[in-house]
Amino acid sequence: MTTTAIGHNTHLAERAYRIRRNALLMGEVQGQGYIGQALDIADVLAVSYFHAMRYRPAEPEWEGRDRFMLSNGHYAIALYAALIEAGIIPQEELETYGSDDSRLPMSGMASYTPGMEMSGGSLGLGLSLAVGRCLGLKRKGSDARVYTLFSDGELDEGSVWEAILSAAHWKLDNLIAIVDVNNQQADGPSTQVMAFEPLTDKLAAFGWFVQRVDGNDLDAVVAAFDVAKSCPDPKPRMIVCDTKMGKGVPFLEAREKNHFIRVDAHEWQLALDALDAGRTA
């Protein structure tokens, strides 16, 4: 993908719009889904798949690809939306989301979904897997990178900190981790469930190269990915993305904040309409 000048990421805005739209369509099919998260992370996924990453849509297992690890498996609806937009999953499969025998179950599965690099669902797995992938890529002399998306709630898991220690120990400069700080987890605001701030300072103290950006500001996200890729430090890179649940659909943004946003049957079309309104605005 070519880089668009900062401030003019219109093609990425269009990609993000289409990822959100795919996610809403899947939510409508299933009647539910982690749509708040899908909407908040769409911009990060647009930048990952249409600016930062190297891959071949027709060849999801291409050896030279950058690996994208979805640690927060419940965000699968968002990643499917991006994989469809990227041409890795056929558009027509969207309608199977969450249905019996679908390749697109509600939580991501490496064993049968194209473009899914790990089986998620149990939180706190992704960074440990990513450490192994990065060690393996280095062993092979590959210049491919590993991108790992996880959520702020996963910071509660001890295994995440095992991997954070380890990635710095092994100087995994081929690892770009992205933590989605939407400040929502199952039992409430993540910062109240288990205080993790000041996150940037903590991660830097653990030996990571850390940036913190508004994860819904495409220009900022593009810049952060560019810096993460070009940084010469022999350190793993972390991009802390502050995001807004329900982003792009104002009435969902305004809805009482909840890990699992309830959307009534008639509201999916309203959400699509609201998304479209924002697109042309």
Binding site: A110, S111, E117, M118, S119, G121, S122, G124, L125, L127, S128, L129, A130, V131, G132, R133, C134, L135, G136, L137, R139, K140, G158, S159, E162, A163, L165, S166, H169
Partner: protein
């Protein structure tokens, strides 16, 4: 549970001391081989460059240090972090390597279970989990006694489960599990490991139970160190005119049901399953289930660890106490025969 104040040791026989955490299970005067796992892995590593070793601060205690010394750039010290250990091994396997992962059986099974389940077994990654201190092979207490590792790992789809008997078998099992494309859990004996099966013209084959000796009165079905105990018991019981057959079942999963049914179906024999494991969920119940499902109903008994947290102490004391020493096992069998 309270326990009574112990009486001071009196008389000629002093109480034994708690065995060192990594005490050898070899009996006095028994032939042994040093570090069969570590040396076999070094040998295999000469031709298999895809093999890498990972441990969680237990290289020295799992004989992986020998591999680390031979191939320092193929060894990954992951620190005392078993979840990371399993996840990272899965990641390396996904990139085409064949990781041999070592820790103690308690930590692989009890602490890292979900990581093994999700990142290794479910994703069907080519990871070999090789764990020391299986069953009751440590006198250190429940923290280090993996009495339930087989039950936990048997219940995991995709995962092959191996319980080798001695150094001879470990040496053969290492290349065999490396040649198998898929996740494996193997119990490990480390340090000076008894050498027994070389005298039985024995060859390890994945998924195969082997009759080591025949006998008309009792069929012992066993795995791991209980096979060497069973062979000892068979010799002991010859003096009592009791004829004991020993069927060694090193692959707990997939179970060699055909051979087990064939041997257990021979009429007139007491079938005794002996395992270094809790009687819940291990080889005993696996065999019992296979027999029941096939309608084969011989007299059936189990020798194994009780469903309780085990004592700390000297291994010989504990093996006697819980009925898995050769003497205790012989006494049980004689009692059952009446």
């Amino acid at each position: 549970m309270s326990r009574p104040t112990p009486a001071p040791a009196t008389g000629a026989k002093p109480k034994l001391k708690t065995s060192a955490m990594i005490a050898s299970i070899a009996g006095e005067g028994q032939r042994t081989t040093a570090a069969p796992f570590g040396n076999a892995l070094v040998e295999l590593g000469k031709t298999r460059e895809d093999i890498v070793g990972l441990t969680a601060d237990l290289a020295k205690y799992t004989d992986l240090h020998i591999f680390a010394k031979a191939y320092p750039d193929r060894f990954y010290q992951m620190g005392m972090a078993e979840q990371l250990l399993m996840g990272a091994a899965s990641g390396l396997a996904h990139e085409g390597f064949t990781p041999f992962v070592t820790t103690y059986a308690v930590f692989a099974s009890r602490r890292a279970y979900d990581f093994v389940h999700q990142t290794i077994a479910e994703e069907n990654r080519n990871v070999k989990i090789v764990c020391a201190l299986p069953g009751l092979t440590s006198g250190y207490g429940p923290s280090h006694q993996a009495a339930e590792d087989l039950a936990l790992f048997r219940a995991m789809p995709n995962l092959m489960v191996i319980d080798p008997c001695d150094a001879h078998e470990i040496e053969q099992a290492v290349p065999a599990i490396a040649a198998h494309n898929g996740p494996v859990y193997m119990r490990l004996l480390r340090g000076n490991v008894p050498l027994v099966l070389d005298e039985y013209d024995y060859k390890f084959e994945i998924g195969k139970a082997k009759l080591l000796r025949d006998g008309a009165d009792v069929l012992v079905v066993s795995s791991g160190i209980m096979t060497m105990r069973a062979l000892e018991v068979a010799t002991m019981l010859e003096r009592d005119k009791v004829d004991v057959a020993v069927l060694h079942v090193p692959t707990i999963k997939p179970l060699d049901t055909a051979t087990i049914l064939r041997e257990a179906g021979r009429s007139g024999r007491l079938v005794v399953v002996a395992e270094n494991h809790t009687v819940i969920g291990g080889l005993g119940e696996a065999v019992a289930g296979a027999l029941l499902r096939a309608g084969v109903h011989p007299p059936f008994r189990q020798i194994g660890l009780p469903d309780e947290f085990l004592d700390a102490g000297a291994l010989p004391t504990l093996h006697d106490r819980y009925g898995i020493s050769a003497n205790a096992m012989a006494a049980s069998i004689k009692g059952w025969l009446g």
